[in-house]
């Protein structure tokens, strides 16, 4: 990609599908080295040699199905019953519900569509300023990224060839830090509006639990299964997909059978879009590693950077820019193979690197000009994109501070690993 020169980069910036750009750069590299171009098909076929990839279509499908069902409404009600008594309760409810939902639906932007439609009007009605609400929903749309079983965590584990279970553990505290800091900001920002949403009521909690009785076992089984080591990731994904399918289509019947093909199609379009990039980048990565690009990169960086601290600082800046132009999935498959060997040389733990990488890329969702959440929110709430740039700005800075904590305090990511 670096060697092939400006033409491919220009094509990418003009909107050529990323997979085609990567494929072209890989094939160009192969032909330069005199390697038969069949290699592109052979490398792409590598998709069929990674058993854990199975988790990606299954979790994505389950996530799309959940967001089409009544689950978002029940999740909001339950979170309200549990957290609504706090000052600025509804804002905290929104953050917590979004984080939870994003973790389960794979950070593909569905959170804003599924939960934003419920939370935004409720926040407006409760008297929160509109600018705050827009910013809150837009930035909360990618908040659960660090919690299991989010797709970017799984994908990073696959690409970096480290244990996904470790990543699931490592993401817990940094994820909570982000949640806490945004909650703190929300409470402070709305200190004039100290009215709690409602008094805590056991009756309401019981009612909300009863209503969500079908969904509550899901995170318990999935997370419990994964963390206890009873389920492999792909098994947990299979259980989730089958369970959600049975509950929402057959038992609760919130999704009519005739609507199922459309949900399947929509979710698999996303999966196909991610995996075709993965397949092509298997080829381009292989070429780049053969060509010694990571070593060259390391040599180059070592000229300016000598300590781990400055390396991390440089990394943060780089990832912020990267996140502003590249979506998280492409960034993982393209960039992680290059920076991982460099980071290892600077003594960065690969699990910690993953958490830093994803936490920073999460900011990319709300970074102008092309942050995905900004567009989805602009489309969903029918506001001009510039208004969303401005309203997400305070949240962006809060998250930026939390990312700095996560990057320079590895303990936070690594302590749970033991």
């Amino acid at each position: 990609m670096i060697a092939i020169g400006p033409l491919l980069i220009l094509l990418a910036l003009l909107g050529a599908p990323l997979f085609a750009v990567i494929a072209a750069s890989a094939m160009w590299g192969f032909s330069k080295e005199g390697i038969d171009l069949q290699a592109i098909a052979i490398e792409f076929y590598g998709i069929a040699e990674m058993p854990i990839l199975l988790a990606i279509p299954l979790f994505t499908f389950a996530g799309y199905l959940l967001s089409e069902s009544g689950a978002p409404g029940r999740l909001v009600r339950l979170t309200q019953a549990l957290l609504g008594w706090m000052p600025a309760g509804l804002a905290i409810v929104s953050l917590a519900a979004c984080a939870f939902f994003t973790a389960f639906t794979g950070a593909s932007g569905v959170t804003i569509i599924a939960l934003g439609a419920l939370l935004f009007p409720a926040l407006q009605q409760a008297g929160y300023p509109e600018k705050f609400n827009l910013g809150l929903i837009t930035s909360a749309g990618s908040l659960g990224l660090l919690f299991a079983p989010s797709l970017p965590l799984i994908l990073y584990g696959i690409i970096a060839e480290i244990s996904v279970e470790d990543l699931f553990l490592a993401g817990v505290l940094p994820g909570f830090l982000m949640l806490l800091m945004l909650s703190g900001y929300s409470v402070w920002k709305n200190r004039a509006l100290r009215v709690p949403l409602s008094d805590f009521s056991w009756k309401e909690v019981r009612a909300a639990i009863r209503e969500a009785a079908w969904e509550i076992p899901l995170p318990i089984v999935v997370l419990g299964g994964i963390y206890s080591g009873y389920f492999a990731i792909s098994e947990a994904a299979a259980v989730t997909a089958l369970y959600v399918l049975i509950v929402d289509v057959l038992i609760l019947r919130e999704i009519p059978l005739r609507k199922l093909p459309a949900v399947m199609r929509e979710s698999m379009v996303l999966v196909g879009g991610i995996l075709i990039i993965l397949g092509m980048s298997l080829a381009s990565t292989n070429y780049m590693i053969d060509a010694g690009i990571p070593q060259k990169l390391l040599g180059y960086i070592s000229l300016f950077v000598t300590s781990q601290l400055t390396f991390l600082l440089l990394l943060l800046v780089f990832l912020l820019v990267l996140g502003a132009i590249l979506d998280i999935f492409s960034a993982i498959v393209l960039v992680v193979p290059l920076i991982l060997p460099v980071a290892l040389q600077f003594g960065v733990n690969p699990v910690h690197l993953g958490i830093v990488f994803l936490a920073t890329m999460q900011l990319g969702y709300i970074t102008p000009p092309v942050g995905l959440n900004l567009f989805i929110a602009s489309y969903r709430f029918e506001r001009p994109i510039v208004e969303l740039y401005l309203s997400t700005l305070p949240f962006f800075f809060i998250l930026l501070i939390s990312v700095a904590f996560i990057a320079f305090w590895p303990w936070l990511s690594l302590v749970l690993l033991g």
């Binding site: 050529a16 069949q38 996303l270 879009g273």
Partner: protein, 169 residues
């Protein structure tokens, strides 16, 4: 004219239906097979060895089928920072260039996938105990061929629109 348009729209509908059918079948098979593997392993203490291989093959299939479906509406992940600053007419020219590039790349990938499958056929690779490997591998040339076809269609439509002095939708 209207009759030929009719044929095209019917072809389009049939193609979409075909894609949906393929996606539904593969995904359903994926879910059921993966779930039954868990049941077998936990309750009967054994799993089908062929099933793991089959699951991996199905993931490849759904990846390619999903990518073909994404091509229908040009929904592939892209960066596209520059094109929103361009005037409409130039935007159309840019789109044509970008789509020609994509079609060409997929054409080349299709060509080499055919060779890959031929090679596998000659070697007589076997999967899942008895299935010749080249059969499931056919998804590569077929899939990339379809994506190439899709983007070629875009190019034709866009040139047609350009010749009418049309604008980007």
């Amino acid at each position: 004219m209207s009759q030929s348009e009719n044929i095209f729209s019917r072809l389009d509908k049939a193609g979409r239906l075909g894609e949906d059918a393929v996606l539904v079948i593969i995904l359903t098979a994926l879910i059921l097979l993966a779930a039954s593997q868990i049941v077998m392993r936990n309750f009967f203490n054994f799993g089908f060895i062929w099933a793991d291989e089959m699951l991996r093959m199905l993931v490849l299939w759904i990846a390619v089928a999903g990518a073909v479906a994404a091509s229908r509406t040009d929904k592939h992940i892209n960066i596209a920072i520059l094109d929103r600053f361009l005037p409409d007419k130039i935007k159309l020219l840019v789109k044509i260039t970008v789509h020609i590039f994509t079609a060409a790349v997929c054409g080349v990938v299709t060509w080499y996938s055919v060779q890959f499958v031929q090679m596998s056929h000659e070697f007589g690779d076997i999967l899942m105990g008895s299935v010749p490997a080249w059969l499931p591998q056919l998804i590569l040339p077929v899939g990339f061929g379809l994506i190439c076809y899709r983007y070629s269609l875009f190019v034709i439509q866009e040139i047609f629109r350009l010749s009418r002095g049309g604008r980007v939708q």
